[in-house]
């Protein structure tokens, strides 16, 4: 049985796809067979972030409509043989996804995969609802910013009322907070919500803080998941997140401003 993880946020542009690509690659590199599914039908981008956009032949909707088998549609990652990508359809709209269809695909994936990461689209429409419906765990990606925090809270409401686990009265979805685009410098100045502020409001278990980092754009430019850039702060943040998710006890990093050494102070701004 696979563990199904939904990466969600409500608000767009907070880093759902970046996070999905990173943690899927992270789990796969740890030796766990992992599939990552793009639920953003009509606006697929996970393929770009993972650098496999030219290898897409069949997609998620093709599989649901029995136009292709799951094995035909799954793209095996070239960097890590434990990672498979199921791209979204670019030509359909979100109504092409059905609860039965998604359920069938997830069930089939569960037979051979250890983890299935569902990259949710923004919003609270069908695509987003189906991405979280079957989830066991939810990674709630939030920016330290009012609209993102509010939307995350809304998604938490949906997770606890509109998911399969909620409907069947089973153990609720495990919810984790991933605070991204965090800037300790601005937090210190009182110009950005702190980790504690966001936790006070959302009362979620913190899985990790991802610092605002230029390396994220470089990674997406190149189609390399950020977690492969092990020298970057954001890459390390995701490595920690995967370790913590797998049960390792790692102290949180990137919450406080990095202390600059003498050289840093002399030669940097």
């Amino acid at each position: 049985m696979a563990r199904i993880i939904v990466v969600t946020s409500g608000k767009g542009g907070v880093g759902k796809t970046t996070t999905s690509a990173a943690i899927a690659m992270g789990l796969a590199k740890k030796g766990h067979k992992t599939a990552v599914i793009d639920f953003d039908v009509g606006l697929r981008n996970l393929d770009l972030i993972l650098g496999c956009e030219r290898r897409v032949v069949y997609d998620f909707v093709n599989v649901i409509n029995n136009e292709a088998t799951l094995n035909q549609a799954l793209i095996k990652d070239k960097r890590c043989n434990q990672l498979y990508i199921l791209p979204a359809s670019q030509t359909r709209d979100k109504d092409a996804l059905t609860k039965e269809g998604v359920g069938k695909v997830l069930e089939e994936l569960s037979k051979t995969f250890k983890y299935v990461v569902c990259d949710s689209p923004a919003g609270i429409e069908r695509g987003a609802n189906l991405a979280m419906y079957f989830a066991d765990d939810a990674f709630v990606v939030t920016n330290p910013e009012v609209s993102s925090v509010r939307d995350s809270d809304r998604m938490l409401g949906n997770l606890s009322s509109k998911s399969k686990r909620a409907e069947l009265g089973e153990e609720p979805i495990k919810e984790y907070l991933l605070l991204s685009r965090y800037d300790p410098k601005r937090v210190k100045l009182g110009a950005m919500l702190s980790v504690e502020d966001v936790q006070d409001i959302l009362s979620l278990h913190l899985l990790g803080v991802i610092p605002e980092s230029q390396s994220v754009l470089s990674a997406s430019n190149a189609g390399e998941p950020i977690i492969l850039d092990e020298n970057s702060d954001a890459g390390q943040a995701y490595l920690d997140i995967v370790d913590r998710y797998l049960g390792e006890d790692k102290p949180h990093r990137f919450i406080d401003e990095a202390k600059k050494g003498l050289f840093g102070r002399l030669f940097r701004s």
Binding site: E145, V146, D153, A191, M192
Partner: protein, 86 residues
């Protein structure tokens, strides 16, 4: 007062404002989420009935739903106008 304190007090702490706004908003929205979906319709219909007899507007009627472990309460509150022309 030192020079440092002067800078501290003049700096606007927008994060604090953001947190306060969010706490109020999120509490309000969580409450609204737990309410039954028929509440707005109920409020509208009650208003129509009451308006047959008394001149009141929508904000004169509040319908509140509260629930704890023990019980659920539906509270209806109608504020009558100062002078009723019946």
């Amino acid at each position: 007062m030192s020079l440092l304190d002067y800078f501290k007090t003049t700096k606007p702490n927008s994060a604090k404002v953001a947190k306060e706004r969010l706490q109020i908003l999120v509490a309000h929205e969580r409450n609204a989420r737990n309410q039954p979906s028929y509440l707005p319709a109920l409020q509208q219909e009650l208003l129509k009935v009451i308006q047959k007899y008394i001149k009141v507007d929508l904000d004169a009627i509040s319908v509140n739903f509260d629930s704890d472990d023990e019980q659920e309460t539906l509270e209806l509150n109608i504020v009558l106008p100062d002078h009723t022309d019946s």
